[in-house]
């Protein structure tokens, strides 16, 4: 029988008592719960819309138009920008740091209400944590919690993951490890092996699997889901070609979108499917999201 060290036992207890209940909360269906799969949107899809807090009303309008009930909200939709003419990048960064530490909980409550009022849940809060102080990290998790998010997601490598280990757990949240397709950088999250290393760093780390990039990095998405579904909180759903290939409309690349959606449905896994794509289109982005979403709905019909 495998023996656990005291540290491993402690991590297992935290995982069982903190993260599991968080994941269980995902099961409440909403507007974009389709035939057993909870869908949402990563608003990068609206390529033409600058991700600023001033554009948040338009973002919400589009999400409703696209019949989305869940979103992964990037912090830039929430936070101000301080890049005023004459100020250096360092000055702007410092002002933003101060703003984060001083922002009132009511500020975030008001934003949550904007989404609540139209029936959209903020599933996760996407923050580029690079360069954050400990106080900023805590402030961001506090903000995410007030917004209603179950956790934060960010893009970084293993070294930085080690740096932020433990922050999410003390706020009762998960920290999503998000992959790209970089097979050259040994620090990058891109392969199953790198995810396993990342997950070992903290009991509150979970996987936010980007199936486009995982496919482009020649990973086997179905095998990964089969093996690690218990640690996956969400997937970024889109299509790309293998061997570092380009992004494509759904169904034109190598990502097994249909099989993944059916796998989630048939196994009743509480994994949120967040539409996210980088392929280009001459149509409006709202129309493109509708078409990609329709593709997913047909897969589950």
């Amino acid at each position: 029988m495998m023996r656990l060290t005291r540290r491993e036992f402690g991590m297992a207890v935290v995982a069982a008592t903190v993260v599991r209940p968080i994941l269980a909360q995902q099961r409440a269906p909403n507007r974009s719960y389709i035939n057993g799969v909870q869908f949402g949107l990563q608003p990068f899809c609206y390529h033409d819309l600058a991700m600023t807090r001033e554009n948040r009303p338009e973002l919400i309008r589009r999400l409703v138009q696209n019949e989305m009930g869940m979103v992964e909200l990037h912090a830039t939709w929430v936070e101000p920008r301080f890049n005023t003419p004459g100020d250096s990048d360092e000055q702007a960064r410092e002002r933003l740091r101060r703003w984060r530490l001083e922002a009132s909980p009511d500020y975030y409550r008001a934003i949550r209400k904007e989404f609540d009022d139209v029936g959209i849940e903020i599933f996760s809060y996407y923050v580029n944590f690079d360069g954050f102080t400990d106080e900023e990290l805590d402030a961001s998790f506090r903000a995410a919690k007030i917004l209603g998010a179950k956790g934060c997601v960010s893009s970084y490598g293993l070294a930085f993951a080690k740096r932020i280990a433990g922050f999410a757990g003390r706020h009762g949240m998960f920290m999503g490890l998000h992959n790209h397709a970089n097979l050259h950088d040994p620090d990058a999250l891109a392969t199953e092996e790198s995810f396993i290393k990342g997950l070992a760093l903290s009991p509150d780390f979970r996987v936010a699997l980007d199936i486009r990039h995982y496919t482009a990095a020649n990973g086997d998405c179905l095998a990964f889901l089969e093996k690690h579904h218990g640690n996956i909180v969400g997937i970024h759903l889109g299509d790309r070609r293998r061997n570092g290939g380009r992004s494509t409309p759904f169904g034109e690349g190598d990502a097994p979108i249909i099989e993944i959606l059916r796998m989630i449905r048939d196994n009743k896994w509480p994994i949120v499917a967040l539409l996210e794509f980088e392929h280009g289109t001459l149509r409006t982005e709202v129309e493109e999201v509708r078409l990609m979403y329709d593709y997913c709905k047909r897969a589950l019909a």
Binding site: D48, N182, D185, A216, R246, H279, L282, E285
Partner: protein
């Protein structure tokens, strides 16, 4: 609402400018995102190049007008683009991508594109990089 008004105004301007110049602009494709992509260019070759650039996803990172987002290279200041003659530098890079990088998201490879599509991408990059006043309309 504002978007609708903007589209109507841009469409009106397109019709008027075509009338004044005596040119007939190509018809818009159904669903063409006029507000984001701008009015179709008078030269159908350049317009085709622009559409290929957008559809292949280049605009997502490098910007339609070459204003980059995030960690993407700034093609306006790229020495590779500056040194390119008829695609001799850009096309090999497109076919191979840029896998050896420490950036989070390496540039994809576009080896599945046809010669025509690759040439379109090169054509648009060179066109968009020129000062606005020197572009043919």
């Amino acid at each position: 609402m504002r978007r609708g008004i903007l589209i109507a105004v841009v469409a009106e301007l397109m019709v008027s400018s075509a009338f004044v110049s005596g040119q007939s602009l190509p018809p818009l494709r159904p669903g063409y995102d006029l507000a984001y992509l701008g009015p179709p260019l008078a030269d159908p070759v350049i317009q085709q190049a622009k559409e290929t650039y957008v559809v292949m996803g280049c605009a997502y990172c490098h910007g339609i007008d070459l204003t980059p987002r995030g960690e993407a290279a700034d093609l306006r200041r790229s020495p590779i683009v500056a040194a390119d003659v008829n695609g001799n530098r850009i096309i090999p890079l497109l076919k191979a991508g840029v896998p050896k990088t420490l950036k989070l998201s390496p540039m994809p490879q576009y080896s599945d594109l046809s010669d025509r599509q690759l040439s379109d991408l090169v054509r648009w990059i060179h066109y968009a990089r020129r000062p606005a006043e020197s572009r043919r309309q």
